[in-house]
Symmetry: C2
Subunit: 344 residues, 2 copies
């Protein structure tokens, strides 16, 4: 007597709802709401990518079918940077760290002569890059640690509310991909649990993913630092420390999926070589699988980059996807809309 109704959608005041996605539609589903004839992926042009997605959802959720996947096993994982939102001209979390450091600079006159802060304050990105991992970790430490989890959450929320992307002049959370919102809504309407599995910081993402993607904090997997329990004013508080504990990228992604979710996904979507192991791990499971890549081919509406990019380099994974017949999304050809604000 498993109920086959739609799961309650999380109703949040963000992009997902305003984009009108509450009514994803279906094909071979046991329930047929009134809007079943609507296209659940209207921002996707007809083509192999769209067809592979619709076909996968239909096959895995048709009771009695050879490819049926029981609802608890319907785990779908998505990289974030470059897969669910834009990652150029550099990761948005780096923009956050730079903006935070600039805001803190008046309290740190010594930073004028000290790297990586000298480069950050001078807007010298090449200089920042030249400080290497040591410099970047120091930048992360001062902007992401030494505060409680709640304080950090507030600093991210405040930044999201005010910061603007250099190319689009819009909040960073406007630069999410409308077709991917539609795909996630379609999956959730079919009882898939949608997860983020990203190299980005777990606390950084959790501050806004529920509002923007409809993905609650407990379904966000990312890189993380050490957190300690302390007492302040007699109350227990969780404090973010400087030490990085785990980088959720490359071979870390299958490890993190096992760690946080404990099941192998049946669907995985990425856009770079950092997602390759996650895609391979998903593919190595038994039964129906869908592995997808967003290929950034649209310099006009977004950005065009792959094998040579400093951020989101897509090289080996693109070759393997083509060789193995994974779903490769050509942004320019497959998406008639990129961002929610461009919707007609």
């Amino acid at each position: 007597m498993e109920l086959t109704r739609r799961r309650t959608m999380r109703l949040v005041p963000g992009a997902l709802v305003s984009a009108g996605l509450a009514g994803g539609a279906v094909m071979a589903s046991p329930w047929r709401p009134a809007f079943a004839q609507a296209d659940p992926l209207p921002s996707w042009n007809d083509g192999a990518a769209k067809r592979s997605l619709l076909d996968f959802v239909a096959r895995t959720t048709a009771p009695g079918g050879a490819d049926f996947v029981a609802a608890p096993e319907r785990i779908a994982v998505f990289d974030n940077d470059g897969t669910l939102w834009t990652e150029q001209p550099f990761y948005f979390q780096a923009a956050f760290a730079i903006d935070q450091a600039k805001a803190m600079a008046p309290q740190h006159p010594e930073w004028k002569d000290r790297e990586p802060f000298r480069s950050v304050l001078a807007g010298d990105m090449a200089g920042l890059a030249a400080t290497g991992e040591k410099g970047l970790l120091e930048l992360l430490a001062v902007t992401h640690a030494g505060m409680t989890v709640e304080q950090f959450n507030r600093s991210v929320t405040d930044w999201i509310a005010t910061a603007r992307h250099p190319k689009f002049g819009r909040p960073y959370t406007d630069l999410i991909f409308q077709p991917m919102l539609e795909l996630m809504a379609l999956l959730r309407a079919h009882q898939f649990k949608t997860y983020i599995v990203s190299g980005g910081g777990i606390e950084f993402m959790r501050a806004w993913t529920e509002k923007v993607y409809g993905i609650p904090p407990e379904q966000v997997v990312g890189s993380y630092g050490v957190v300690k329990l302390e007492r302040r004013d007699g109350q227990p508080v969780l404090v973010k420390e400087k030490a990085v504990d785990f980088i959720d990228d490359g071979p870390g992604k299958p490890v993190a999926i096992n760690h946080f979710i404990g099941r192998r996904p049946v669907l995985a979507f990425g856009n770079s070589d950092g997602d390759l192991e996650m895609l391979q791990y998903t593919a190595a499971g038994s039964g129906p699988r869908l592995m997808g890549l967003v290929h950034h081919t649209d310099a006009g509406r977004e950005f065009a980059y792959d094998r040579q990019s400093h951020f989101g380099k897509l090289d080996k994974a693109l070759d393997e996807a083509r060789q193995r017949g994974w779903t490769v999304v050509d942004m320019k050809a497959d998406w008639n809309t990129v961002y929610p604000f461009q919707k007609k």
Copy 2:
């Protein structure tokens, strides 16, 4: 337009369903199924504990009420050993490790003269205890590491199917607390997400919690070791290494809750001093809260122990619970049934 229907219950072939819990009932809920008059907690005797639970669920889920908690915030966390199942005469995971070591002994003749294995094979629990943390970690290493996550899962599943508890002569998974199953079913019927937050090993629990408690792997938080991605026969596999990464006990529990869930619970249940920080952290949030302790007072039907116990010592947390008015469950007085197999 949030749907206020019951959430789909995970239908699993285990105790939860056979115990007839699919129909939890409710009071001040917006939906009133046909069975709304049934007592959702039939194994709980009328008393302060039962009333506090029913009252909390009613208050936090009544739309428009002063204590209403939005569905996404309805996070309920439960310790496992001693809270959801029995933990005497020693933690069941220790019984698993001992049984595994015995089964492996023929391949390790050198263990006869080497601690901690000499004590394990001789059934000398005092000798095992005397090997201290080093001995216990070595026992864990040989029984919990050096294999893939899938292989370990199988070894746990096989053990659960055959091992018997020394006092009851039943599978360990029979020794789960019927009243707690009812409480978790009631919470889920009101859109609470129920999590385990236990000092036990995360992979050990994930092998059976979905079947036994209706708690899926992704809602199981526990202690964990290092896991690495390797390639075997050209396929990516996840291998459990010997190193312990994190102990989810005491001050670790709030850290793990933040790490895995990313929200502060509104309800927490434990039974020992190892749960105190989790209860304090839950209590320190704003809005309605429920903190509960299972007090083992029933030597006849289960075990009676608290301040002096080697396993599940309950001392400081008992004092603090009484002082702060938390819900203290007196097993003997509050539960008319302890285990599902005792149900009339």
